[in-house]
């Protein structure tokens, strides 16, 4: 590039060439306007597409759910008040959604007991304590963890965690909520860690300096200044992890079992909402019967729960966000 520069030229010589250039070269404005319009339409199209997809999914869920409630065996009070979920028992079908919600919540609770403390502590270590070299080694490893297919976690739960649990306490069922919960927790851990670390690192260095300058230790600075300042980000990381755990399917389908029941015993089988949908969609029943439509009712319930959580997350994020200039 530089070899093309003729260093012996004088400014007046260049002056004339450049003036000719400037006079000659014009952007093709009509083409530019056309292109801008095309790009704009493309972007609007993409935006509308996501809206359309979301809208149609909600529409299908709602309309199929409505069909489910038109069956004479199904009543709203049975759905919301019964404690039995036995859609596959010939004569005594019962559709008490709470059995599935309880399974989902138990697995989610166990997962969060694993993922939230582990994720937050690791995030604090990576952001506040770890030397640069350690961080640059650990972060890719965490990303690998996040990239493992969930079906592998499911096998891991069934083949490794469950035998380990049974070795500790023989009362554990082959399919149990604890094993699935731990695996979902490990699955959510990188998400929590990475989002919480982003939130912690977004806290300006001047606040750390302020805490150190007052004689605070690193722990003082972290616990009393940095974490409170990053709280909105940390909470939204938690809520995202909860949403992810509630919707997690493959692990619970493999490891949590297929008996829906209201129990607080994590050693027992606990079918979740997603687990039930896999069971039905996987072909255990003939199409277009009441069991088939029950899948949509469950899906709609799940959607309502995750939507609520997302909205709560957004609310918390905007309410507690600290802005620094």
């Amino acid at each position: 590039m530089n070899s093309a520069v003729n260093r012996d030229r004088t400014l007046p010589q260049l002056e004339q060439q450049v003036q000719t250039l400037l006079a000659r070269e014009r952007r093709n404005l009509s083409w530019v306007r056309f292109r801008e319009r095309g790009i704009f339409l493309c972007l609007v199209g993409c935006g509308l597409f996501s809206l359309l997809v979301t809208g149609s999914i909600i529409f299908v869920l709602a309309s199929e759910t409505a069909k489910f409630f038109q069956f004479s065996e199904v009543t709203l009070s049975n759905f919301f008040l019964s404690t039995q979920w036995t859609p596959l028992l010939g004569n005594t079908k019962s559709f008490g959604i709470w059995s599935l919600i309880s399974g989902t919540f138990m697995v989610t609770a166990i997962a969060m007991l694993v993922a939230l403390p582990l994720g937050l502590i690791t995030a604090v270590y990576l952001s506040e304590y770890a030397p640069r070299r350690v961080r640059s080694t650990l972060k890719p490893i965490l990303e690998i963890l996040a990239g493992i297919p969930t079906v592998v976690y499911g096998f891991f739960a069934l083949m490794t965690i469950t035998p380990l649990l049974q070795w500790c306490y023989s009362g554990f069922n082959v399919y149990n909520a604890m094993s699935a919960g731990i695996a979902v927790g490990i699955l959510c851990f990188p998400t929590v860690c990475s989002l919480a670390e982003d939130a912690l690192r977004a806290v300006p260095t001047s606040l750390r300096d302020g805490a150190f300058g007052l004689g605070g230790t690193r722990f003082d600075a972290t616990v009393k200044v940095i974490i409170p300042a990053a709280l909105s980000g940390i909470i939204s990381a938690f809520l995202l992890a909860i949403t992810r755990a509630i919707g997690e399917t493959m692990i619970v389908a493999l490891a949590a079992g297929s008996r829906a029941q209201i129990t607080v015993n994590p050693a027992e089988e606990a079918q979740t909402m997603t687990g039930y949908m896999v069971q039905i969609a996987g072909g255990d029943v003939s199409n277009f019967g009441i069991e088939y439509y029950s899948m949509y009712a469950v899906a709609f319930t799940l959607f309502a729960i995750t939507l609520t959580l997302t909205m709560v997350g957004n609310y918390i994020r905007t309410k507690y966000r600290e802005t620094y200039d």
């Binding site: 030397p131 300096d209 302020g210 300058g213 009393k224 200044v225």
Partner: protein
């Protein structure tokens, strides 16, 4: 050996002083003048002494064999063009440079009898005794009260009423009390820049330091707030030794007793402020203060 220079506020002693000051706060300014005069009469002794202090960031040498003394209860100004090392020097005095992994220093730096560069030096205690105010006001995203109470809560076990007294005392000393007394529980980030900076000064003096380091404390502030901070420094010099880094030569000449001029990591000259600004020894100093460069 630490005890020799740890005369000011510790534990309950501190609170006695705090309440005492609160009661006397609205008295006529003459009493304050008296103490100031008395301090002037004493032979001022050095509180910070450095000899052949050099400092590096990685392989870049930021300070080149600095030797100077900062005298007790004086305002000392460090001036010089950007990148001359004055902030680096300031940040060694309370070891804020420890937060930069590549920073290191050789030579000697003492606060009274305490060897500041010694590996055994407890930086937590040091920073309690040598407070720092930064260029950009950096209040924590907490209430005004909690900002000032932050340091005391780390270092002392106070009853609620004692803490309230200490916070009021600090805010009064920092000349921001009247503006915030009705909204102590409001978020500190809602204050104006000048108020935030005075809040940061209050937060710093609440732990009872002997020395206040100020790293360009007014460069992000408007002229009115700058004036308020300068008046405040003048008020505080009776009780504290103040070292201020500034780009603003008028500020140095207005409010400091002694001035040190740095250039490219070296101390060019240090003298009482009047001499530096009227009759500098070095040509470089004269060029800088007369605005010929920098």
């Amino acid at each position: 050996m630490n005890e020799t220079i740890t005369e000011p506020p510790r534990g309950s002693d501190k609170n006695n002083r705090a309440t005492h000051d609160l009661q006397n706060a609205p008295t006529e300014p003459t009493s304050r003048m008296d103490t100031h005069e008395a301090a002037q009469a004493d032979v001022p002794r050095s509180i910070i002494e450095m000899k052949n202090l050099s400092s590096w960031y990685g392989s870049f040498q930021a300070l080149n064999s600095i030797s100077l003394n900062v005298r007790k209860n004086k305002i000392t100004a460090f001036i010089g063009p950007s990148g001359c090392g004055k902030s680096t020097l300031l940040r060694w005095v309370n070891r804020m440079n420890d937060t930069i992994p590549t920073a290191r220093a050789t030579g000697s730096l003492h606060l009274g009898d305490l060897d500041l560069l010694g590996s055994g030096t407890d930086v937590v205690d040091l920073r309690r005794r040598v407070g720092i105010v930064f260029q950009k006001p950096n209040p924590f995203p907490k209430s005004i009260f909690d900002n000032v109470a932050f340091g005391p809560r780390l270092h002392m076990k106070l009853r609620r009423s004692e803490l309230v007294d200490l916070v009021e005392w600090s805010l009064r000393k920092a000349a921001v009390w009247d503006e915030v007394k009705d909204r102590l529980n409001a978020p500190a980030l809602g204050l104006s820049g000048g108020q935030q900076q005075r809040l940061c000064i209050a937060r710093t003096i609440a732990v009872g330091p002997q020395v206040l380091l100020m790293d360009e404390p007014c460069s992000a502030l408007d002229p009115g707030s700058t004036l308020a901070i300068e008046e405040l420094m003048n008020e505080l010099r009776d009780q504290y030794t103040i070292v201020i880094v500034t780009h603003n030569m008028q500020q140095a000449s207005r409010c400091s007793d002694e001035t040190a001029f740095f250039f490219e990591g070296s101390l060019i000259e240090m003298n009482d402020t009047k001499s530096i600004f009227t009759n500098p020894n070095s040509q470089k100093t004269e060029d800088y203060i007369s605005g010929r460069f920098g």
